[in-house]
Symmetry: C3
Subunit: 134 residues, 3 copies
């Protein structure tokens, strides 16, 4: 069985992450799939997907501050839109995540949530969710 | 349904990316799969896979220049082949990408292409493509 | 067909990788799946999954030394547990890997192994393995 859905998002800052775990779980609920794998892919080139801690918001603050210092907006970049840093961060963090599904639930660790990572907001964004299984 | 294919590539520089979107789409066309997920995995340890912008070639120039400054070839690395930087970049960028398939087409954003990332060329390279779906 | 398994690990240092290729292959053997895709996902937020060289252990030494210098433990991080570096490295390296399966075997390059990457050990750890195919 295959079930697909598109998640629509709106980011409100240049760099932030947005928890999409609930939306992804709802796609699994709607699919009727009990066992399989769920893939979430970002449909943009200046944003990414990751899984990280959902308890302390300081983890996000540290994550985006460190990425900004590692890959700053640099006037020496050639790409004329001024967002080469966002493109580079997207490829470093990665465009998609895969999570096992068992008993109709995402198999995530206690502290894990699925995040859409905005590196060039604020913007309207989309990601695709596909669940394969039985 | 499952369909597999191997993509064979030749890189001509030490660091560059090669657009494989067309080859991956042709694997989907050959598979007869209309809905599912396509996985592309690099079969080497000094190269990677990513998704990034297909419009302005300066994005690639900025990406590889920044990675070279973050992870330079450093004589202090222990690995005797002198390509530890390539191994490290491979794990940072990631070895595989996953893209949803709908109506027999890769679900990619307007500006997205799938790239094989060479970090230790020129070399002959391979990646595996597997499409799961119905 | 879908087959799932959990891999249980124990890390003995703060930062190291642990080869799980044999355990993943055994999950495929047990599944009876001959062709498909295998997904391995780390169930923690201070560890990751990657694929890298299995021949020279100096590759691991260089990898972890470079990551430590790129993302050091920094007293200016806000997250009070003192392991923001581990959370950041986890998202940079990525939480999951996908490998094609053909003729009941992982499709890996000659030098590739699958590694669980510990960034905040020593700890007891888990990752989920799911194989989809026929």
């Amino acid at each position: 069985m295959v079930h697909s859905k598109q998640i629509v998002l709106k980011s409100h800052r240049r760099c932030c992450w947005i928890d999409v775990t609930g939306e992804v779980q709802r796609a699994i609920d709607a699919s009727g799939i009990t066992t399989g794998v769920c893939t979430v892919t970002c449909l943009h080139t200046t944003a990414a997907m990751t899984i990280n801690e959902n308890a302390d918001p300081d983890v996000a603050t540290d994550f985006f501050a460190k990425l900004a210092s590692m890959v700053p907006q640099d006037p020496k970049f050639l790409h004329c839109e001024g967002n080469s840093d966002s493109h580079i961060k997207a490829s470093l963090v990665g465009l998609s995540v895969q999570i096992s599904v068992e008993s109709s639930r995402l198999v995530l660790g206690t502290w894990q949530s699925i995040y859409f990572c905005e590196f060039d907001g604020p913007r309207n964004r989309k990601c695709s969710v596909t669940i394969l299984g039985e």
